[in-house]
Amino acid sequence: MSQIVLSLGFGLVTASILALGAVGFTLQFGVTNLFNLAFGENMTVSMFVAYLALVSLHWNMWAAMAAGAVAGAVLSLGISRLVYLPFQRRGTSQFAMVMVTVAVSFILKNVLQMFSGATYYSYQLPPEPPIRFLGMVFDARQLAIIGLAATSLLGMHLLFKYTRLGKAMRATSDNAALARSVGIPTNRVVSAAWVLSGLLAGLAGVALAIDLGSFNSGTGGSYLLLIVAAAVFGSVGEPYGAVLGAVVIGLTSEVAAIYYPQLKDVVAFAILVLVLLLRPDGLRAGRVQMRAEVTV
């Protein structure tokens, strides 16, 4: 029992990182309808930017994380403007767009690798004393990651609920044509979605790099699938569903590690498969469909 409580605590850290990434991924998908498989590389770029800030410029961790997030946002917006939008304007089909994002991820990853080489990088943070809490063990940095995720997600929630931008995003996510017809400047909303998604990718990336201890040019890309799994789990385009997906996958993969440490990712992915068998379009599919249907 205490083992499970302990694992749930660890799972919370994993879930926090996943949630940051999954919300960023799904938010951008909802607004732009583009399945962005280059999201992982966006995370990796932020990891390296934070590394430069932290290790070369000797900034503190928070400033480095902010630098990573800003870099993620800039990159995300830049790529969407330079690559994705022109392709979409050409009427490139949905599946071809997925290949476009795959190509972008290839390019980003390998350009990074050209500069970083095959070696690993680390923020070289000093050890922190463990903090025990309700049978769980954390250190200050992990608590910071959990706090960061909670704050960011609360911020997103407030944004959606109370700001014009957030409402416009939701409207665009529901039905872009309709949103445009009622005077929502969808272009600006789309840009905002890319920026926010990039910010969250950056935060998730830096948090992941802190948690991992070391990273290289392929780290974000290999982590992407878990993020996508969380997003698909909760129906892509649904930020609240993504959080749910992140929590479920984060917690189960840690708890699974008690029993099947050699297959813990498999257990997490198996849950995804199970969900798809029961609800092909994700747990919160009804909600997404509703928004699409009602506006017709």
Binding site: A96, L276, G286, M290
Partner: protein
Amino acid sequence: MSPAIVSYVASLLVYLGVNAIACWGLNLQFGVGGVMNFAFILYQAMGAYITAVLTLPSASTQVDEKYILGWHLPWPLPLAGAAVGGAVLALAVGSFALRPRRRDFQATVMLVVSIIAATLVTSEQGWFNGNQGLFGIPQPFAAALSLGVNSYYWFFLAITVGVATLALALIILLTGSPWSRRLRAMRENAEAAESLGVNVRTESLKVYVTGGAIAAVSGGLLVEFIGAWSPAAWGTGETFIFFVAIIVGGLGNNFGAFFGAFLVLGVFLELPAYLPQMSNTNIEESMQSAAIGVLILAFLWWRPQGIFPERKRNLSRAIPAGARAVAVAEAAGPVLDGKKEHSPQREPDSGTAAAGTLSVRDLSRGFGGVQAVDGLSFDLAPGQVTGLIGPNGAGKSTALKLIAGAIAPSSGEVLVDGVNVAGWPAHKVARLGVIRTFQHTSEFGRLTVLENLLTAAPDQPGDTFGGALLGRRHARARQRELLAKAWALLADFQLTAAADSYAGQLSGGQRRLVEIMRALMAQPRILLLDEPMAGVNPTLRLVIEEHLQRLRDGGLTMLMVEHELGSVERVCNSVIVMAQGRVLATGTMAELRRNEEVLSAYLAG
């Protein structure tokens, strides 16, 4: 030539054959069927593993090696086993991975599956000897023939050519069939294909299974050649190399896929070795991989159809000139002369049965907290056109989708000729003759107009997987019949000139016409029209109206959602007004114009 060169060239050709088989398999799945198999490499790998363990003797005879089976089967049984294994795996994976509606979700699930499988194969030592993999797999007939090294290379090349020829024959049979037309329709617009009676999930599964089996054979052949297989031989990323290959080669084109196979081998594997070597091989590799990314972007931008685009099927050539002339002569009258009685037989097959009846009882569907359709009930008068109007958000389109089975109602009945079809999938409802057109034009863009029409026609001998295997001759007679019928429709709508044009290249109005003709080809007994006048210019609107009037006079039951009230007035016998998910009023347009409630809810606003 020195012996080493002979074996080098022979091996390259064997690899070319193996890659070609793989590319054909992927091209069938993705290029033709539109199924994004991001687990593609898994099928090649599984084919290799299965072939290996069927060829090897029992694992108990080996030291430090564990694997399942070990049946020591003679050639070509291991390859056949690979095909079966690939098909079974595809069936298992496809049964859940193909469930999400969006192709990109499916792709992601498959990518996940591919990674799970790699983890399992690596960590489950007992299956295929884990990370170390299998080795020492005997080459077919090598021991029996005891040929010299080079002679054996040629012998193996002959085997490869043989297997590749068989695979190609199968592929050609399938891609030339009416079935592949349905697949391509599904690729272009799955929802529209479903609404015409194509069971998209099942057909996707069939094409996925076929492609999986073919990929597995390619892997089996490869492992027979190299004699070893392990997780290092199949990175998840290699799937994308195959995608790049067929995208560059040309989607939906078997020659393009072959060319792609050549590219995989020549450009990605062999060519870099002949470029000047850099001191840092890792930078070289990075540049190479980045170049692959740039190549994908460049192709998708400048030449998305690939080097060898999908071949256009000019079906009109198959129609005898005589048949064309007859159709044109027949069509010339009625279009211009509205008074002339339009015989029901002229509309494809619609005269053979009595007009369909449709009753909707207490139909409801909520999404979250909102009732989009809330206790909707009405009856359609058989053989008449009923209009369905109402303000935005009244639930008109949702009602149409509920009737057609595109979404399932939460409660209520939809009675088609007395049969309750509520909750049936769309393709099953469509087979009863309930055909729906779409609010946004939903033509199959990269199918010609004629192909669009043919796709919809039911009862084609070659439009199933099994029928396709029987060959083209088997389907020819019916195809000719359907072509004549389609040509008559085209003549009627004065679109014969565009018969062999890609539907996606037509104007918006013309596409609307294609959609209506396509619905007519499906032998509808009840036609559900979702805003047929949306985005259509006034001239064309008159043409459409006239056709609808003629169909009405021919006795076809229709339900038409439309905002253009003038058209509703001219076409519909009676009109149902919907508001907030239920019926507000019914009557003729003239009656409704006097109805205060309707006016306040809709007409005035």
